[in-house]
Symmetry: C2
């Protein structure tokens, strides 16, 4: 391959910033307030970003929609994680490699346990050896983590994502939906993080502009589903017991992110990373109770049934 | 090396169980109530243990003193972690390896933020290839995680551990104290988990009975320090703001355990592990606030100063 196509990089960055803004505005509308915009630049000049943050809002307890772009030397931890995924990195010549990333990532934790937590993340990556691009790919996905099951919410969320995937091909949604179910699985607990969505990584079998349009459609799918779900559920009166269950599930969320999530791992292994952005996905509070069990027949048990046996949510 | 010395294994198991009981009783005394004893056996018969548990006690919010013994086939995840530490595992013949472990591990999270959290963990390990012991070692340590700094508590904790180390040699405490400061460091935050203690891994340069006696002395050091610290602090009246800070620090504790702790990683990678025992170290509640900062000149800032610059606590 040849040197970096800086015009595509610029296009990708512009598109991703547009996605960030559209997502943030759709959230501000249901929140009824503006998110705070935090711009940041790495001290070494090798990256910058903008975090659009809400904390203790009206509807959202904590959340962020973050744009990041970086170009950094590849370090051993990240290179090893890439090798495991089949990328050909010559570890003897590690010093010659660098990685470019531009992406948007969001996690929203609402106060009300009847409103689901949501995550989304779309990024364009290039691996350079010296001045040459030796690899590139798109990656991302979006998944929903309800505390109580409202089937029509799951259907809306998945239907919108399916329609974004269909723009790329009819085989895309089934593949990325399954990938999501596999990826967001908390192995040590034998349950999923939530009711899924889509997930994809290392995708470079389409043209780059086509993939850029695809992630734009995914952002639109978010705008067309999550705020509507929030509106439906945000005024349901919740109990202490429901909030307790939400905190237990927050604990599972923390476990997934710390132990399995590639984005979080990448962030924690990046020297001088913006740790506030990396840990933005953490819920405000989480709870671990020894031998916590859900009551058979309860609404909590109904959710757990779906977490252990992922369902199809579209036709 | 030759086959496993089953008489030493039996001795080690008996000693470790005695340590578990002594530690538990010393904690029950300050708690003013008995811990619950949960015995468990792996379904495949390859391990068993006993968890001595307290949850929502008088003084302790959550804690456990767990005894575990296992003999399991070595899996890829654990073998790779061992290779990184310089153990010669022939990955081509991974199927022939098994690992024997017997250990006690404890974590105690008190309600009162003026009482520190404490961790301790001592274990004997053997690696078998077929019927032959190809490697063995002792590992462990103990560290203190205060929320507010009481220097005399840090001094007592370290002085007792130093005296246990001195039984092995005068060079042991300085070495294991430094190792602890390095190990319990939360790299992505640039702060330590707490004020340290001792840590050691892969130790086999002493005779096995000598090391077994040493870990017994370490258990005694715990009995002679932590309960006294609890007694000193448990009746201090604490504020909401202090409890909030405790939850922030609980978040750091969770991060350390999920991202760096070898014991937790080992547990999460062990198929069909007793996940309740593996996750016992988690605090009941933890908190993540976006861009949380301690106030300059505050007692929280005084603690952070020690977390960023480990001190010497003994002469």
């Amino acid at each position: 391959m040849s040197g970096p196509d800086t015009s595509f990089r610029a296009q990708a960055i512009a598109k991703i910033q547009t996605m960030q803004e559209a997502i943030t505005r759709s959230l501000e509308q249901v929140e009824g307030a503006e998110f705070r915009r935090d711009q940041w630049t790495r001290e070494d000049g090798k990256g910058h970003g903008q975090s659009n943050i809400i904390q203790r809002g009206n509807v959202f307890e904590k959340g962020g929609v973050n744009f990041t772009t970086l170009e950094l030397p590849l370090n051993r931890g990240i290179a090893e994680a890439m090798s495991v995924r089949g990328k050909a990195i010559d570890m003897q010549e590690l010093g010659q490699y660098s990685i470019f990333a531009a992406g948007v990532s969001l996690v929203i934790h609402p106060f009300n346990p009847h409103v689901p937590t949501v995550h989304g993340n779309y990024r364009f990556m290039e691996v350079m050896k010296g001045q040459e691009v030796v690899d590139w790919w798109f990656a991302g996905g979006s998944d929903l983590t309800p505390y109580y099951l409202y089937e029509e919410d799951c259907v809306l969320f998945h239907t919108q994502l399916k329609s974004a995937c269909d723009s790329l091909g009819a085989d895309v949604y089934p593949k990325y939906k399954k990938w999501c179910d596999e990826y967001f699985f908390i192995k040590h607990r034998g349950i999923s993080r939530g009711i899924g969505g889509i997930f994809f990584d290392d995708v470079n079998t389409y043209e780059r502009p086509q993939l850029l349009a695809f992630i734009g459609n995914c952002a639109q799918a978010f705008v067309d589903s999550y705020p509507a779900i929030v509106s439906r559920r945000k005024d349901i009166v919740s109990t202490e017991a429901e909030r307790y269950w939400q905190e237990i599930r927050h604990g599972h969320y923390v476990e997934f992110n710390m132990v399995y999530d590639r984005g979080t791992k990448f962030g924690l292994q990046t020297p001088d990373a913006n740790i506030e952005a990396v840990l933005m996905p953490m819920p405000t509070t989480a709870r671990w109770e020894y031998k916590h069990q859900v009551e058979p027949g309860s609404r909590e048990a109904a959710l757990v049934a779906v977490l252990t046996h992922p369902r199809e949510w579209t036709n």
